[in-house]
Structures are given as C-alpha cells and as structure tokens.
C-alpha cells in the first residue's frame, strides 16, 4: 500500500550507480589534467542539480506513467482529460442503473483554464503597477528612489504565508478596512472569499518579481542616450517611447516570466483569501498528493504543468533572445 515503496529496487541502484559514476569521472578528470581545473568547481552544483532537480523530474515522469502497482499505464493522463475516467469505469462495473452517472469530468481542465486566466490577470496587473513603480525608483531625480527599493524588499523578508494570512485581518467583514468604512458611516463590503481577494493576494506576493527586473534594466540604461534624444528634439513622451521603453523590454520579459510562472502554480492563497471556494492548479496537485494520496495522477498533473511552463518560457525567450533581462528566461 505504501506509495514510497512503489519504486522498483533498480531505481535506487541506478541512482547509486549514477552518483558513483560522477565521483569516478571527477577523479579521472583530476588525474588526467594533473590538477584541479576551475570548471571542476561547478561539480557540487551539478551534483545538486542532478539530485534535486533532474532526479525528481524523472520520478514525476515515472509516477505519471505507472499505476498504483507500478505497471505502465496512460490512465493518469486520461484522468487529466476526463477527471471521472476512473470512477466512470467503476460505475460501469456496478450495473446499468448507474450509467446515468457516467459523464466526462471537467475538473482538471476547468481548474487549469481558471489558473491560466488568473495568472494572466495577475501578470497584467503586476506589469501595470510595477512598471511605473520601477520607473520612479530608477529615476535619478527622485531622491526617495532607493528608499522605495528598500521598502519593497523588507516585506519579502517575511514568510509569504504569514503575509497572506495578515491580509485576512484587513479584509474580513469585521476586519480593519470594513471597520474603518463602518466608522465613516459607509456600508461595509465583502472583500474576502472571492476571486478579487485571491487576485489581490497574488499581485501583492508577486509584484516585487515584476518590479526588480524592470528596475535593474532601467538603472543599467545609459543616461546619455536620454540626453542625446532630448538634444535631438524629442519631448519626454517621445524619449520614453523611442528610448526608455525599448531598452527596458528585457526587464519586462524577465518580470513577466517571473510573475507568470509562480502565479499559475499558486496554492494556499485561494484557500486562505478565497475561502477554498475556488481551487487553482497548485491546490489541485496538492489535493491529489496529500489528501487523496494519488501520486500517479498528481504526477501527471505536475508534468502537464511543467510542459505548459516550458512552452510559455520558450515563447518568451523569442522576445529576449540575448537573455538581457537577467537571463531568467
């Protein structure tokens, strides 16, 4: 029954052999070159990546292609497309009177579409708020710019769960904002337990990831270009559109990908600020793993998520082929 014992023994042997092989390769390389080359310093990093990134991805692929007994199956992906795929088979076995229950389940597809939509909204709002913020912070004429940078960073020192829970005390019906509204003689509003609150939580948590790449690309910009544009007679607006904006594109691209990726896989925020009324793809994967204990379908969902993120990254990469925005994409 234990899921973790599902892995056939050869997987562990293979892992051990891989590790041994890497150590041997390192030794051989040191011997051949009669000393330690600078590139060998990357070995611990490579080892780390293999152990904690490559191997887990392979494990996810393994689980997604097997059933609870470890036999090969594509059912997990069928369960993605039709979330009732497995239970429909049960209904069919139980007898004809249960045939009415057989229908395609749209849980996974629906939640995926909802997550993509929320992530898109979050990214657009972050860009709309983050670009001006970064622009002002990077402006040399604005003295408080560097103070603002610090103010943006300080909340990030706190755990994101804590920051999200703190929003609850602000937004509740009997919370601070509604208390203030009522004290002013206004009607309170329902601020929590809806999509808006979830979106607010996401924007709040991910905004710095949009601001900082843009800020970096703006501060890197050669200010003489702006002076040249003005010398040639361009007004402020024209300078912005023809010089500043194009030069900040790499930062924008990097910001978009850094906000979009965590947004799609958000979890916990919908449960806390949305009151569990909606689920995002991250919550769905968490539910499959932790509540249902169904690692196989959970892995299939994770794999699909990863593929979607890879596709969107490669699309974004086209817009910033040089990786100037910090090379995140």
């Amino acid at each position: 029954m234990s899921q973790s014992l599902n892995l056939p023994g050869w997987v562990f042997w293979l892992l051990g052999l891989m590790l041994l092989g890497m150590v041997l390769l390192a030794l051989v390389a040191v011997r051949r070159t009669n000393g330690i080359k600078r590139s060998y310093f990357s070995a611990p990093y490579t080892l780390w990546m293999v152990l904690f990134t490559v191997v887990p991805v392979l494990l996810i692929a393994y689980y997604s292609l097997t059933d609870a007994n470890g036999a090969f199956t594509l059912d997990n992906f069928k369960n993605f497309w039709d979330s009732n795929y497995s239970v429909n088979q049960l209904y069919a076995q139980m007898g004809p009177e249960y045939a009415v229950l057989i229908q395609r389940g749209t849980v996974n597809i629906g939640i995926l579409a909802y997550s993509l939509w929320m992530a898109l909204l979050c990214t657009v709002i972050c860009l709309a708020l983050g670009y001006p913020a970064a622009y002002f912070m990077a402006d040399r004429e604005i003295k408080i710019g560097s103070t603002l940078v610090v103010l943006f960073i300080i909340p990030m020192w706190m755990n994101f769960l804590l920051r999200t829970v703190a929003w609850m005390t602000l937004l509740e019906d009997q919370g601070l904002i509604n208390g203030l509204l009522k004290a002013l003689g206004l009607h309170g509003a329902q601020l929590m337990y809806n999509d808006g609150a979830v979106l607010l939580g996401m924007v709040y948590n991910f905004l710095p990831f949009m601001v900082f790449p843009i800020y970096t690309s703006l501060t890197k910009m050669d200010s003489r270009l702006l002076e040249a544009a003005q010398d040639l007679g361009a007004d402020h607006l024209r300078t912005f559109w023809r010089v500043t904006a194009p030069l900040s594109v790499p930062g924008v691209i990097s910001g978009i990908s850094m906000v979009f990726m965590p947004s799609v896989t958000t979890f916990f925020i919908p449960r806390i600020l949305g009151g569990g009324n909606t689920m995002m793809f991250g919550d769905l994967i968490e539910n499959r793993f932790l509540t249902e204990g169904n690692w196989n379908v959970g892995s299939a969902l994770s794999l699909i998520m990863m593929i979607l993120i890879l596709i969107s990254l490669s699309v974004l990469r086209k817009a910033d082929p040089e990786g100037e925005g910090g090379g995140i994409v």
Partner: protein, 345 residues
C-alpha cells in the same frame, strides 16, 4: 576578539552534540491542530524526561497519506474511528501492550471494544464528539433544528463548511435521509448536487477547518458546520453562539491514540498514551480543547461544569440519532471525485 568569538562558537557547537544525543529519548506525536494542552506535554517531559515532538494534521485523509508514506516517523497518532479501522485493515498499526497503560482503567468501558477496533487491541480513546451546527443567535431566526438551514438562501454568504470530504458529504447524506456511510453512488450524487447547489446559490462563505472557530467568535458568519469541541471553544468566547446537533441526526466520532507498526519508540509511545489517560491530565486536555472525554475519572473531577453541558455531554437521545463513520474502503475514490466536483464547481 574574532578568534575568541569563533572559539566560543565551536565550543557551543561541541556542547550541543550531547544535547542532540539526549533528544533521542523522544516520542514523535502526530496530532490534530489545536488538540492538546501544551501544559500536559510540559508535565510529561518534566516527569519522564521524554521530549515530545509534536506534528499536526488537519484532516484524517491527510494524516493517513502521511502515515502510509513515512510510518516510522511517528510513535503516537490520533486518527478518528473510521481511519483506525482503515489502518488496522492496512496493517499500519500495532497492538498496544495494555500492561504498560494502567490508566486505561479510567476509560469508559462502553468505548473499549468499539466497532472500528472490535478486539480493542489497537487504540485507546482520547476524545469523542459530534458534528453539528454552530450558529449566531443574533443573526439566525429562531432555534436551529435541521440541516436545512445550511441550504437556505436566506443565509446567503453566511455559512462556513468544513473543508473535509466525509464530514461535508456525510451531513448532507444524513439530511437527505441516507446513511453517512453509503456506498450507493446515486445517493452520493444527490448529496453532491445539493452541495453544488448550495455553493452556486452563494450560501457558502468558505470551506475551512481550523479557522472557523475564531471567525465565528468574531461574527464573520451566521452558521457553521463544526465539530463539537470547536463549538464549545467558540461559545465560551462569544455567548451569542449556540450549538445544535440537528434532528435528522449527525456524525458521532471517537479519536483514538494508536501506535504505528514501524514506530521507533514504542515504549515511550505507551508511556505517553498512559499519561494522557491519567485523570488530571485528561481533565487539563478536556478543559483546553472542549471535546467530550472518554475518561470517567476526569469527568468526576470536572463535575457539573462538564456533566451539565449539552455540547460536551450530549444526552442519550442526541447520541442515539448519530451515526459513526465506517471505513468505506475503495469507494473513497468516488467520494474524492465528487468532492473535487463540488470544490471546483
């Protein structure tokens, strides 16, 4: 100066090593959130020298997955009745040596050989309780007697549900006149449709577990589906609140203490369980978390405060209309699928 600092740090680290060794004499406890008094844990450590490593879970289902995947991480676990049944069936837990649990004598004899543990070898009851409706008398008209209030559009955006599969579907099944342990997908489907309707009508404010009690105290909603102990905790802090087990019947449950087969500190686990059955300790826990105690001696100690309280000490008539959850085995797949349909509706 700096050298001294480094020396001090190294010395500190070396001194810590034997401490880390001492910590080996520990008991790893996997318990519900907010479900034990810290004072009793401190007393246990003071009296026995055994450190308690407390880990928490939110629902039985989460707990079960975790224990299946790393059974040796826990020495004592606090599952509910139907989960104990499941864990016995899956051979996850070991029989307890009652020679090491003399305080077992204080446990209500009616609870010693329950249906979920027919031989009574595997579990020791810790607390029991009911599932019911906690409501705010200033926000709800008249006394509540039926589950129907949870589906009444009059209370739009005013109901908290428990974010837990069996509890939510169970009371809805009961409301519809079915068993909470049904294995008929058609009955279950009817409950699902009702819960989806409840959500679509905007009646549900949130699905949550441990947050509900404090939010009810703050007056965030008129009605909430809760466990009896959470209800008593909230009523104690806000006298406008009341708790009722509806006439259609509800769930009655027992949370037991069990020892996983792969537990590393079985002896400490038995000491811990025995300690929790000591009347004064059972009393402290009961007065902290407000659930019903299976410990007859502790009830004597608490006296009228406990006996006269209908939430903690429900009448036989209330108990008679309640049903235990049973392990529904593989049928849980269908519950899971329907639950996801509800949550994502």
């Amino acid at each position: 100066m700096r050298k001294n600092l480094i020396r001090t740090l190294v010395l500190l680290m070396v001194l810590c090593l034997p401490l880390a060794g001492l910590a080996e004499n520990a008991v790893n406890v996997y318990n519900w959130e907010d479900y034990i008094s810290q004072e009793t844990l401190d007393m246990f450590t003071a009296e026995t020298g055994i450190t308690v490593n407390m880990m928490n879970f939110t629902t039985n289902e989460d707990m079960l997955v975790k224990v299946r995947n790393s059974p040796s991480s826990f020495d004592v676990v606090f599952p509910s009745d139907y989960c104990i049944e499941r864990m016995i069936a899956e051979d996850l837990i070991a029989p307890i040596d009652f020679a090491n649990v003399p305080n077992m004598q204080y446990i209500d004899p009616n609870l010693l050989k329950p249906t979920y543990d027919p031989t009574g070898e595997y579990s020791v009851p810790y607390m029991w309780g009911t599932v019911g409706i906690l409501y705010n008398k200033t926000m709800v008209d008249g006394p509540v007697t039926s589950w129907s209030v949870l589906f009444d559009t009059k209370y739009k955006n005013n109901v908290f549900m428990i974010d837990s599969i069996r509890d939510c579907l169970g009371v809805t099944l009961m409301y519809l006149g079915y068993s909470m342990n049904t294995r008929d997908p058609l009955e279950l489907n009817a409950a699902k449709q009702l819960l989806i309707q409840q959500k679509k009508d905007g009646i549900v404010k949130a699905y949550q577990v441990d947050e509900t009690k404090d939010k009810m105290v703050a007056g965030e909603a008129a009605l909430a589906l809760v466990w009896s102990g959470d209800a008593q905790y909230a009523i104690d802090l806000n006298p406008d609140l009341a708790y009722v087990v509806p006439d259609e019947g509800s769930n009655i449950w027992v949370d037991g203490m069990v020892i996983p087969k792969a537990a590393k500190n079985k002896e400490n686990a038995e000491k811990f369980i025995d300690f929790m059955c000591r009347p004064d300790i059972a009393q402290l826990n009961c007065e902290e978390i407000w659930y019903s105690s299976p410990n007859t001696a502790a009830i004597q100690l608490m006296g009228e405060d406990y006996i006269g309280n209908l939430t903690m000490n429900p009448s036989q008539e209330i108990i008679d209309r309640c049903e235990f959850f049973m392990d529904i085995q593989d049928f849980i797949q269908i519950y899971n699928a329907m639950w996801l349909d509800i949550k994502s509706a």
